[in-house]
Symmetry: D2
Subunit: 409 residues, 4 copies
């Protein structure tokens, strides 16, 4: 077996593990050095560092301090990597921690993070998903079982100081356009809960005060939450600092396009078997600004879909200009209404859309004023037939089971 260069202990606080960090900053020291061509194992906490429990109480989802996320393993230095190179990362395999074969999905309270449909599901709820080998099912969401499209929600290289400055200016400036918004427009640097890895003392304090939060995807990749960065895929990352500084975390057992529930996919602690290589000067050679990647040859082959359309007219009938976000929200709401006819609660339906290998397509973006988005729901994940028929829907789900909810205090 390859070496495990970063280990985690689920009984230890992520803050005590100095091979972990939760902010992006060029000064965070490399915790291990590898060579091009090496393969190795990286263990990671779940994105909350173990805050969410395997129980039937959603109060942890309600009460979490979101400034602590995401706990990333790294940064890993690659010998010979220089700014302008492409770091080629093969995700050779990914799995859950052996003694922790479960994950969580939930909705944050609108007052604490929210989510894509937070106006419809404003309170904290959660569902627990158990893993059975390559498959998952939930005691809170009956009638579905599917193969995992396992992937890291978050992976990328350290920014250089210039890129970091760009991020901070851009996002802090953006917050200022509506500083009182709930949920906020973006998350500024926040030193008190920053974990800067092996950086200590004044250097740490300085970096913590300016370290970029890990929430958004950015030029380097980062928290892209792309379900198709799954095990078996190959990614080409821009390199900004000597040694590249690759970090990763936020593992998902499965997720739908959009990760619409925000908290989040099926979130888990686990490990990644990684191989690294370099394309020298690759950013300029290929005109690369953001990462590019090739998907895995080994992804679940669900190919029978029921597809829901949405257009950029919102729930109140308001018109939006070619707004794919609004259109996809309508497609999701349409799918939820449909699933409710089979007996699901709205929350269960929302959870399915957030966790199953649902596709979200940008179908039309030029036919003014309406964008059209489509949500592709795989029918083969259901224990029963969800296709429409002249007989009308049968209630296969009897409503006796629902997802735990923790009301706002």
């Amino acid at each position: 077996m390859p070496d495990t260069i970063i280990k985690i202990d689920l009984n230890q606080s992520a803050y005590e593990n100095d091979k972990v960090h939760n902010r992006w900053h060029p000064d965070i020291p490399m915790v291990a050095m590898v060579k091009p061509g090496d393969d190795f194992i990286v263990e990671t906490y779940d994105w909350t560092g173990g805050f969410i429990k395997n129980d039937d109480d959603a109060s942890d989802v309600r009460d979490i301090d979101l400034s602590i996320v995401h706990f990333l393993s790294g940064p890993i230095g690659v010998e010979g990597a220089e700014p302008g190179d492409l770091l080629v990362v093969d995700l050779l395999d990914i799995g859950a921690v052996p003694e922790s074969q479960w994950g969580f999905n939930g909705f944050f309270s609108k007052k604490n993070g929210g989510g894509f449909l937070t106006d419809h599901f404003p309170q904290a709820q959660k569902s627990i998903w158990d893993f059975e080998g390559l498959f998952t099912k939930s005691r809170h969401v009956p009638g579905v079982r599917y193969a995992g499209l396992i992937h890291p929600g978050l992976i990328g290289c350290l920014p250089d100081p210039k890129l970091l400055a760009t991020w901070n200016e851009r996002e802090v400036g953006f917050i200022k356009t509506n500083p009182e918004r709930v949920p906020p427009l973006a998350n500024p640097p926040f030193g008190p809960t920053a974990h800067m890895g092996r950086l200590k003392g004044e250097a740490k304090d300085k970096a913590a005060a300016e370290g970029a939060r890990t929430v958004p995807p950015r030029e380097h990749g980062g928290n892209c939450d792309i379900k198709d960065l799954s095990r078996g895929s190959k990614i080409f990352f821009p390199v900004y600092v000597p040694g590249a500084g690759l970090s990763m975390g936020d593992l998902h057992f499965s997720q739908g396009d959009g990760e619409i529930t925000f908290c989040g996919a099926i979130e888990m602690a686990g490990w990644v078997h990684v191989k690294v290589d370099l394309i020298k000067g690759g950013m300029a050679k290929y005109g690369i600004k953001n990462p590019i990647f090739k998907p895995s040859p080994i992804t679940p082959n669900y190919n029978d879909y029921l597809i829901f359309e949405g257009i950029s007219v919102d729930e109140q009938g308001g018109q939006h200009y070619l707004d794919v976000h609004v259109a996809y929200r309508q497609a999701c709401l349409n799918a939820i209404e449909y699933l409710k006819k089979f007996g699901y609660s709205g929350a269960q339906a929302y959870s399915i859309l957030g966790t199953a290998p649902v596709q979200g397509h940008i179908s039309g973006v030029v036919d003014i004023p309406n964008a059209c988005a489509t949500l592709w729901l795989p029918t083969q994940i259901f224990d029963f037939d969800i296709n429409p028929s002249s007989a009308g829907p049968q209630k296969f789900i009897d409503g006796s089971i629902d997802m735990p909810l923790a009301p706002d205090l």
Copy 2:
């Protein structure tokens, strides 16, 4: 062979064919009646009614009067269809007009329609795509050849007066928020170029003055430009008027998600073999607002992709809040830059993204402030290897061929 219930003549103006219309209005008379269970053929003009020619001059793309589009065949009445039903439409097969085995793709001038990347490609350009059986290639875009994912860009049932009123209020109200914008925010009813089928005299004039333009997708489906409504798919349409009134047109030989070039996919005249059926009361039974559909079992099996990411930071570095439209634009621009390294002009690369079976995924929409979108470029459509390698890109395209451009006058 089934009956051809609507025929077209490419040598005749679409305005002279009274089984064709180019506005949505409940008063447009049915041009044929069919029964549930019937299958039949419907011929259609290309969306412009033959305005764009198979030549090497883009002036037709520059000069088109866009108020004439889209020429639709129908409406077709279905016996027994009532408001609240679902009209089940099987697209049994679709093809080009036998004597017209070609299609066009283009970019409108920013002054006359624009498109998704109109700021980058502000002038009229076009490419002609020849069909070779199930495949297509272009004399203006060398190095690519692919199987057609043939589909109608536009299909749906007539609105009732209330729905029509909703559309007009919503869109006209929206235009008023920025009436001088170029391109406009939306297109209001416009009587002079309306083709109201068999409606004549005063009734026609009245309806023409209020008939909804066919450009945007709406609740009934309409101009969704969903590439996956391809031959072999099954669609469930809401019914609003007695008899349903099914119309269709805007056939595409192939299109990428988003139809980003706007003019448009690979546009063609052709025929659709349709079968219809009803689910009585299906809208309420299944909670349907927009159409739903099942994709075809017979779609091109390209499964090796190179995937480009984009985030909702625009070309000038401006921050947008979870804006998938902006994110997808970045992913497209990233793909264009990449393809240019292999010798393509920007216009050729843009044309490939608009016409090939490219997927556009809504990958992340909750990680404030950045949405993440991905563009999936099938590698198997290229005559050469477009994957990145340590050797760097080879210029397979020598630049001797480009797409015709017609400068603004």
Copy 3:
């Protein structure tokens, strides 16, 4: 549209069409010449030249004179083709004759041709399959509907005299090992019913007496009945005579691996849109003895299968040494027994296995003494759920419909 270089008339006997032949012989004159790079249309009769009718009486299947088959369109000459080249054939598209949107499947009497399961189904039966665009269904076999994997059962180039002599020696010698067998071991040349195209007079008589029958697949390809030579595929054929001499026919709307019913797949008259090219000296360059090919990117995407195993122990318990033929027969018989539990007659089940896009895999051929073969039955072609469950099978088919049978006279 490309030129139709060979036309057929369904109201005319195939024997009267001099662009058709039913034997392989190097002296058959080319009926058209094309150039490398050309594409063109070839029309073909069904393999029996129209003998089997669209009715509910299987006596035509019982009474057919099998020495008349297969009626092939060609041979087509390709300029510059020389022995040792590879002829590259793109099957750009294939379809049924527009006015003949149906096909037939059947079982020959054991006394007149037989088939893979002739000991179990010794009498003539047939089923008629109607085409609905890209799909087919049968009034004789309820409960199934599927997309066509349309292909020519028979395609290849003319043999040279040496290859022809090899065939005749090999097969006539083989017949002599058991000349009285019913069905026979092979079919020898037979002049009286030979159609030698444009060859006339003595030359015709001589060639007819030695022309190879079209039944078996041979080194040149020929009657391979490979379902995956479907429209969109690309084939590389060995060339033996100057001009190549490409002929084709025996079109199938759909077929399962093995074409086990022999009469045959879903047999139809139709047309093939072909493009030809050459790889000079390709046979030696690539070490080619038999044709090679690449399958189409556009094949039905059925991917949910129920798989039946068979081993090389026959129905009477007899042991055979790594005999895949026997093993596949057991897998087929196992599938038929299974389908009977859902209400199908054995004949209907056999017909489904012969016509639907069933896969037959050579799963194990080294574990002495038993070969293992698997039959892959696509579940998505059924109108109902054929998966096993703890509830046991439900009879969805009530037995009121069966396939016509014509008893031996």
Copy 4:
């Protein structure tokens, strides 16, 4: 994590592990009892019990005593299972032993086992395949790398005395028809090397003398070597004895259809995560004689193939009657000749066909006298382009590396 109910120690002889056996016999005691609905882990030796080493010397392949195989883990009893039931087995996941991330493939000497192409490769050779997460590659076969289609080559339930007697009579009778053949026609019971699990003393001796060898697939499944029984698949096994008695072993990291090299696929020690359930009386309900199964939704998505044809005319020109075994052998030999043009040795090409996810289809079995079989070679597993072109093949493999060979002594 679920319980590991059978553990192995690679440093211990398989004969010393009493939860292992290498013969089929109803008297072998259950080593563990589980309940319907349980899931659990079963560890297994490689089929030879560790005889073949990870080195560059094929003498172990030459010298192995094949009467010791296959070492199976089990039998496992399932509470409530009775003869006539179907045992439903979900292969939830499968993997290699963590500290043994490699497997072997080889050809036996014709004098000691042989293989599908033993007349062409009569001497012992081997190749070692290293695992990199989900992928494998070999230091002995350059230029290929592919995702594993991991599966147990051998799995099934204990026979009852009657079924065992049938097997022994059938196979011993068969051997008597040609007792001197090399390799033999079949393998009779052989007590000296039998491992009968926990059976001891006289009972063991008696059972060992009549226990069926594990080599062939039989009615219960057994050594089917079906590559598609991969992790994620669901199998329905006939039950013959109370408690079912499920055993498994012979794990393969990857294999082509046919397992043509016999020694074998990519053979490995590993573990299987299994879930069991029952369909009471399922054999009669569904007419089941052999196991049936549903393939996994998670299999490598290679879909670009180069396909080779073979007909039932042997290497010497001899004619065989609809013999799929001969036809598939020709297809394999054709593929090997082709691959040699790119620089591979015949042995390397043979090894690729035996180990990669190659498909073998029974394409035509009714066109007397020739069967047609096809070998589907996935092109995406090669580091270079193996498609034919007018330029002719390029030698990407320089011949400097070959597979170790151990000459017969």
